[in-house]
Amino acid sequence: MSDTIVSLPDQSTARIPKLNYLTKENGILSWLLTGDHKRIAILYLISITFFFFIGGALAGLIRLELLTPQADLMATDTYNKVFTMHGVIMIFFFLVPSVPATLGNFLIPMMIGAKDLALPRINLLSWYLYMAGGILAIYTMASGGVDTGWTFTTPLSTHYVNTNVLTTGLAVFVAGFSSIFTGLNFIVTIHKMRAPGMTWFRLPLFVWAHYAASILMVLATPVVAIAIVLVALERTLGIGVFDPTKGGDPLLFQHLFWFYSHPAVYIMILPGMGVISETISTFSRKRVFGYTAVAFSSVAIAVFGFFVWAHHMFIMGISNYAVLVFSLLTMLVAVPSAIKIFNWTFTLYKGSITFETPMLYTFGFMGLFTIGGLTGVFLGASGTDIHLTETYFIVAHFHFVMVGGMLMAFLAGIHFWWPKMTGRMYPEKISQLAAVVTFIGFNLTFFPQFILGILGMPRRYASYPPEFQILNVFSTAGATILGVGYLLPVLYLTWSLKYGEIAGNNPWQATGLEWQTQSPPLTENFTEMPIMDHEAYDYEWLENQKRQKEEEVASAG
């Protein structure tokens, strides 16, 4: 066992602690009315997985349709609805809440040594809002779908489609408030609930990343809410704010929409970066290289992320001067991401690295996110943007960041904290296999799309010229593998709930406060208020703790 750090308690005697947050109360109502952040996190985890697989099924349909150049599997109309719902569900009901609402919800109070989030009822409300939005989205699909694209571009969405734009808009609006409340809750919690000794620069980087993402959620989401209200009113009452025939400017909608939706990509990726900081430190047994730089780069991404939204509109008729300014700012926002990548890389330097599943996902994240980030620069430079925007290059770029980055980080996090959440380990070999399958499937799916994009294949096409078929076939084949890669964790993680090995408090020998309590934790998280007397990622402190305990046991014996 020299190539692993996993230390599990003696399986013959180990038991899951009788009293924990899962067993404290029973019955469906004790879940639906819970104020416990950990239970809400589990509720989120279940619902998010559900929406992920709906979105994934839609993605599967898209890839199947694109297997052939003609629109033969479904009519173009249906295809449009499928990709719209894929976008809406994946973005608003999976990516935005994924890490924050599950892992963030579960871990932030534990990491800062609090008993719960500051506003438990608001936290529950935000889950209900999420579900209400999700049900509306499903209702939209059931009642004929919507075909505006997830961007709701006016005047298409206001005057030229007669599908369920209103219910979709309401779904997004409601989900938006869910995300606002989550972000608000995190900010208040991080400010007001830290345990004694938990200073800002002792916070795990996971918390820093969530803090930055929360700022974005709170400040950006309301703007998309008002933009959607305006679209809804324009559809129903015919006010003319975005209608060019009445003197409105359709581009104004895009300004308001991207004012949220660009920071939204940072809402999606920042928490993922937080996960990576935790895993990479734990599995290389080292403090994160340049802790302060990583922490501040999160905040820098959040702040600069606000000033770049118009790079989605370079060719759409905004002024050329604005193009210059926004292009320059976009280049600036790319730098903090580069800083992070290099800091993570150098965290490995002189570490003592092991390759458990979360670490494999982490490596996957670093490779794919680097590609995703660098291709973002292609699009941020105004010249190449002309050729590449609105093609599959864009599709590939944001899937590399969102799926290759965020989803990899999400899976890394789920695998990393699964023992803490459930008290049990998953089977290591098969989970490593799943990580590798996901990585291969992902690259096969999305790498060809970069080439398709450079060749000029437009996005959102149900049919395409035949010479693009071969790359599309590769992509569809990759999607199949990717699908397997995503199904596997669901299977073995579910299996592990009953049959997994008992994990003990700290299977990875990690330093975070969340690992110093039992797994699964108590409802109050800690038996007594923890006092933080060391830096984050202090492995020497952990060693000392262990030694002390051993000495205690020895002297007692």
Partner: protein, 102 residues
């Protein structure tokens, strides 16, 4: 935990509230009066300046920000800053569009 001792529970005396109320009413009268005088481009400037003063009075005293922590002030500052960013960067596009191509 916000450390400072000048914390959120400072009780503002009613006298302050009355003074602020009077100031707000005077401000309202003033801004309406100013709007009846033709000051050319200065009309909007004065109206907005008075509105901002009034809003500041409400925020600082009715909403107790004068007595609250730096954190609250920072949060409000961030909100206003983002609001101004939204307006100024969007307007920057619209204004420079009229300059034509180069």
């Amino acid at each position: 935990m916000s450390g400072s001792n000048e914390h959120a529970h400072h009780i503002v005396s009613p006298r302050v509230y009355v003074v602020i109320l009077i100031a707000l009413l005077i401000g309202t009268a003033l801004t309406v009066w100013a709007s009846f005088i033709d000051l050319g481009p200065w009309n909007p400037v004065i109206a907005l300046a008075i509105a901002t003063t009034k809003a500041m009075l409400v925020v600082l005293f009715f909403m107790h920000v004068w007595y609250s922590t730096k954190l609250t002030k920072l949060a409000i500052g961030a909100g206003i800053f983002m609001f101004l960013t939204l307006i100024s960067l969007t307007l920057a596009d619209y204004i420079s569009r009229a300059w034509g191509n180069w």
